[in-house]
Amino acid sequence: MQKKTLTRLLSVFLFVVSFNMTAEVTTEGEGSKDLKTEIKEYISHHLLDSYDFNLYSHDDENGEHQYIGFPLPVIIYDDGLKVFSSSKLKHDKGVAEVDGNYYKSYHGKLYKTNAAGELTYDEDHHPEGRIHADFSITKNVFTILVVSLLIFLMFSNMAKHYKKGPMPKGFGRALEPIILYIRNDIAIPNIGEKKYKRYMPYLLTVFFFVWIINLLGLTPLGINVTNNIAVTLGLALITYLLTTFTANKNYWKHVFWMPGVPWPMKIILAPIELLGTIIKPFSLMIRLYANITAGHIVLMSIIGLMFIFENWLGSSLSFLLAFALSLLELLVAALQAYIFTMLSALYFGAAVEEHHDAH
């Protein structure tokens, strides 16, 4: 009985939702083809970093495009340090004039232009004049900062509760099992009882950082941090450096002079193993980046499909699919954080392993 009413309510809800969405599109879009390119552009724009923090945009009554959000500082080193507000860039549309130089943002990157703001392209259709020494607080940097602050507050607060008593309070009760899981099921089995303590701060931080930032990417805030290769490279690089600098003699012996194999094999194995030390963090980087990027593209494409199907059946179906995919992405967000932590622990474990059976 209850189930029946629930199904009925759900179908009514879906119908209303799909109806509303098609209605929205018909007033907004002028044609199916334009809509498709618009969605494509929107997705590719969403995947990029931007110089201001903007939640959404809409056309107001006067037909002007309005952005809801706030500007962030742009910091570049180009003939001296230059700092200016990203509001000058006017969302890729304007040209910022700073100390006689002109800058323009294009697809989330800053370029030096002439006074008119015209970009020149090379033969590969890449715009020229890219500013490489760009230390701007972009949307992603801002998000990283906010998430870091959040994590710090969350866990330092949790640590304070431990001073008062043996049990955490409030939200810490939900976090403690995760910390214990990382310690008991990731760190100790992979690194070993003796040496795991040294790596615990990194493993815990990387797990919660990646997890929370992945989850944040699933919110409608339009933030997408882990699909930047720079972010995943930063994380993978730390894993690589930690592995390399804490590795013991045994590890290097396995890399350069594999014990237990005949000497011609040792010579062949050495470059492969050496390459392997770099491939491991590289695959860490690519995995996180690709999973999150692919997830976002697929999810947004299916959400976009809702606006392309202009009937209630197709749109509600794509809504259901998008809903299911969002749930899957929730799992992927945690799974990627887990795999990153797990594989980092595995690499650390290999680096500090004491005795190894010849294989």
Partner: protein, 63 residues
């Protein structure tokens, strides 16, 4: 994207999918045979799947 690279990407996805599927299937078998070792099997399964996935992604980006 050119047609050969698209075909290559398809082949990569098929290969990686088959590999991960096989790992998953074998892990299921192993868990069914020894349910008490499911934790260890899951860990090994995830690691193996992650490695294949890594190779798959690397090839996809190269394609």
């Amino acid at each position: 994207m050119t047609i050969p690279s698209i075909v290559g990407a398809g082949l990569i996805v098929i290969g990686a999918g088959l590999g991960i599927g096989k790992i998953g299937g074998s892990a299921m078998d192993a868990i069914a045979r020894q349910p008490e070792a499911s934790g260890k099997i899951q860990t090994a399964m995830l690691i193996a799947a992650a490695l294949i996935e890594g190779i798959g992604f690397a090839a996809l980006f190269a394609a």
